[in-house]
Amino acid sequence: MQLPIRLRSLFPCALLAAACGSPSLYDGTFELLPPVTTRESLVWVDPARDEVVFVLPKGDSVTTRRVEIGDGDETVVAWSAATRDRKSVLALTIPASAKEEDVDEQLHRLAAHGKGKPVTYDVQAPFTSVALSPDHRRAVLYFGGDGSSEQLHNANQIAIVDLGGKGVENVTLNGFGGTLKSVEFPGQIVEGEEVPVIIGGVAHDIAAFLADSEVVLMDLDDPALDQVAIPLGADIGFAPRTTLLRPGNDLFPDPALFVLSAQGSEVGMLTLVAEGDGTGFTAQISLIPVGQASSDFIYYDSASVPYLITVDNQAGALVFTDIRTQGGFSVPLGNAAQKLFLRDIDDGGVLAKQAVAWAPGGTQLSTLDLGGIEDSLGRKPKHLKIETGVDQLVVLDNDRVLIGSGNKLYVVAFPEEQVTPLSSQVPYDPLGSALVGDRLLLGTAGQQWVSTVDLQTLNPESMLLDDFIGDFHYLPGPDRIVVTHDDPAGHLTVVDPADPSRSTSHVHWGFLLQGVLDQE
C-alpha cells in the first residue's frame, strides 16, 4: 500500500512529537513564601502556581490541602498573612507582569483549614502592607515604607477590607501631602473585642494613619465621614512613630490620642471632640513637654490624676504628666530605660499597677509601684538584675517575662522578684517561644533542640530533633508544636507540648509535593 506523500511526511513528525512533546509540568521555580501560622495549620503560599498549601497536623499524620487562587499564569501571589485571630489567611494576587493589563489586584481570604471557597476582594492596587485591627473585624491595605514597584502609585491610597463579609472600601487619605508610613487602631485595646471610641456620646472605630509629619484619623465604621488630618509640625521635626488612645472617663471626659515622635522632647496630644453639627469628630492639638526625650509611653489614672507616663531614655527616668494641666514630675530609674509596660499587682489586698521599664542592652529591669504615686514624692524604683544584659524581652503573662541574653534565657517572676537563668549551648530566641499554661515552649532557628520549661518548678527539659530548626510554631487548635526544617519538599516535626519526647513526636517529609505527580 502506497501511503500518500503527505501522510508519510507526518510519521517523522509524529515520532519526534512523541519523544519530545509539550513542556514539562515540572519546569519553573518553587520558592514558597515563609509559612504563616493559623490556629490549625501551617500555610505556605506558592506564588508561581497561585496555590495556598495548608498543612494540618492531626494525630500521627498531616493533611495537605491545596487551594488555587488568582487567575492562572496571569497573576502571582505578592504576600500572605494570617489574621489576628488566626482563623483565616489573607493572600494578595497581583498581575504577573506589567503586560497583563486586564488583571485586577485581589485580596483572598481563606479559612485556616483550607476548606470552602475563598472570599475575594477587589482592592484596585498592589498594596505592599496590611494592618489588622485588634477587634478582628478589618484589614487595612496600604503601601508601606518600601513603596511599590508600580510605575506610578498613590502612596496614600488604602483599601479597608471587611473581614467578616465581602465588602471593601478603596479610599485615598485626605492629608497634607505626607506619605503614609503605618496604620494603627489605637482605640482597640482589647484583643478580639469591639471597643469603640465614644466621642460626644457617639461611637467611632478610629484608625490612625501616620504619615511623615501628620496624622490622619478616620472612622472605619463610616469612611464617608470627614477624615481628620492633624499636622504635627514638620518645622519642629515631629515625626509620628506610634499612637496611644486614652478613652474618656471621669478624670478626663474626652478621649485623647497621644502621638509619640521619633525624635524631640514632646508628645502630641489630640483631644477628640464631636463636631458641632454632630456628624463627626475633630481634634484639639497640644504638645506636651516630657523631658529630654521620649521613647515609650502609657497612660495611667491614679485616684485623682490622669497621667501620661513617658520614658525619658536620655535621663533614664519615668516622666509623669497630668494631661489636664501638663504639669508633672519625674522618677529617676538609675539605669537605662527605653521601654515600658504596666502590670497588675496586689497592693495589700488592693489591685494596683506597677510600671516595668527596661532597655535593650541594659542590665536591669526597673519596677515602680504606681499606687498613690501622686502622694509619694521620692518613691524609689526597685531593680531586678540581668547579669548578661537584655537582648530581647517577651511578656509571658502578668507576672512573668522571658529575657534572651546571649546563650542564656532568664525567666523573671515579678511577684517573687526572682530571676532564674537558663543556660544553653546555643543562643535561644525568646521570640520563638510559646506559653501554654505554665509550660514555656522554646525552639530557635538554627539549632536542634526543642525545650520546655515548667514555670512552676522552673525545671527545663530538652528534646533533640533529627534536623535543625527552620521555624518554630505553636498551633493552639491541635495543641501541637510544629517545627519546620529547611527542605523544599516540606519537612517538619510535630511535638506534643505536654509531653515533648522523641517517642511521642513525629517527623513528616514531602508534604509540599504531595500529589504533585497526579496533576494533569
Partner: protein, 316 residues
C-alpha cells in the same frame, strides 16, 4: 489484507533453507575416510593387469560425484613405475565436505538497545523528555513447527533503563527500572536470512528511585537542611513486540548447509505496560530516628511505546 495473504503463503511454503542446501551441497559425506575397494563405487574400469607382478597402487579417495565411467583408467598408459623404496608415500589429497543440516531449532544470544516513549506527564519529573534509553540482553530459542516456515519458541530478556530529572527546582529525582521479561515468540522465515516475528511476554519490573533536596547555608556558612530519600518497588510488566530479524543465511556461510552458527540483527517495536508506581520514597534517617512519615507524590506510569535494535548470535 495483501500482507496477511503474503504471510500465510510464506508460512505454509516449504522451508527454503533445506532446498537451497540440497541443491548446492554435495552429496552428504560426513567426513573423509579411505574407501575400501569393494565399496568404492563405481570403481573405474579395471586396468589391464600387467603380466608381471607389479606393485599395487594405494587406493585413492574418490571424489563423491563419480567420474564418468568412460574416463580412461589411470593405468591405461601403462603400469606406473614402482616408487623408489626410499621415498615416503604422500598422504592422499582430500576435499572436505559437510552434511546439510536441516534447521529444526534455533538458539539466540542477543544484546539490544532501544528507547521507550513514556506518555505519562508524571514521567517528566524524572526526565527532560518522554523518551528513555534502555539496553539489555537475553537468550531465546525456538523450533520449527512441522516442515513449514514457522518457528515457535520463547526466551528471557533482561533490560535496564534509568533517568533523572526534577520537580520544579525543589527536588532532584532519579529512577532506574530493571525488567526481567519472559516471552513467547513466533517467527516466520520469509526467506532464509529474513524473519518476521512477534513476541509477547511479561515479568517483574524492579523500579528503584531516589530523591535529593538541598538545604542552605546559615549566617555562619554552616550548611544545614536538605534530605535524601529512596524507594524500591516491584511492578508487573507486560510486553508485546513485532519486528524483523536479518541474519546471514547458510549459503553465505563457510560451511553452507552444515553451519551451526550465524549472526544477525533485528529491529522491533511494541508496547510495554507496567503497573503504576506510587512514588512515596522513604526518608534517609540516622539511627534511632523520630518516627518518620513521608507523603505520596503521586503515581507515575512507566509504560509506553518502545522500539529496539539488537544484535544476536544464533546457534541452529
Amino acid at each position: 489484507m495483501s500482507s496477511l495473504t503474503l504471510a500465510l503463503v510464506l508460512s505454509f511454503a516449504p522451508a527454503p533453507a533445506d532446498r537451497s542446501g540440497a541443491a548446492e551441497a554435495p552429496t552428504a559425506v560426513e567426513a573423509w575416510s579411505p574407501a575400501p575397494a569393494e565399496s568404492a563405487a563405481p570403481a573405474p574400469a579395471p586396468a589391464p593387469a600387467p603380466a608381471a607382478a607389479a606393485p599395487t597402487p594405494m587406493p585413492l579417495p574418490m571424489p563423491v560425484p563419480a567420474p564418468a565411467p568412460e574416463q580412461p583408467p589411470v593405468a591405461a598408459a601403462g603400469p606406473p613405475p614402482p616408487p623408489p623404496a626410499s621415498a615416503p608415500i604422500p598422504p592422499p589429497s582430500r576435499k572436505r565436505t559437510w552434511p546439510d543440516r536441516p534447521i529444526r531449532w534455533r538458539l539466540d544470544i542477543a544484546g539490544e538497545i532501544g528507547t521507550s516513549v513514556i506518555r505519562d506527564p508524571a514521567w517528566r519529573a524524572f526526565d527532560d523528555n518522554r523518551s528513555a534509553f534502555n539496553a539489555g540482553g537475553g537468550v531465546r530459542g525456538d523450533f520449527r513447527l512441522g516442515k513449514g516456515r514457522v518457528f515457535l519458541g520463547g526466551g528471557a530478556t533482561f533490560r535496564r533503563f534509568g533517568s533523572y530529572g526534577g520537580i520544579y527546582d525543589a527536588i532532584d529525582m532519579d529512577i532506574t527500572v530493571r525488567d526481567v521479561l519472559a516471552f513467547l515468540r513466533l517467527s516466520i522465515v520469509a526467506v532464509e536470512g529474513v524473519d518476521v516475528f512477534v513476541q509477547a511476554g511479561g515479568g517483574p519490573s524492579f523500579a528503584s528511585l531516589s530523591t535529593h533536596t538541598y538545604g542552605s547555608y546559615d549566617a555562619y556558612d554552616a550548611y544545614y537542611g536538605g534530605s535524601s530519600a529512596y524507594q524500591r518497588n516491584v511492578l508487573g510488566m507486560g510486553d508485546g513486540q513485532a519486528g524483523l530479524a536479518l541474519y546471514l543465511p547458510k549459503k553465505w556461510l563457510p560451511r553452507r548447509g552444515a553451519s551451526r552458527a550465524t549472526a544477525g540483527l533485528e529491529f522491533a517495536a511494541g508496547y510495554t505496560f507496567r503497573s503504576k508506581l506510587a512514588v512515596r520514597p522513604a526518608l534517609n534517617v540516622d539511627e534511632d530516628p523520630i518516627p518518620t512519615h513521608t507523603s505520596e507524590f503521586g503515581d507515575v506510569a512507566v509504560r509506553g511505546f518502545q522500539w529496539r535494535f539488537g544484535l544476536f548470535v544464533r546457534f541452529q
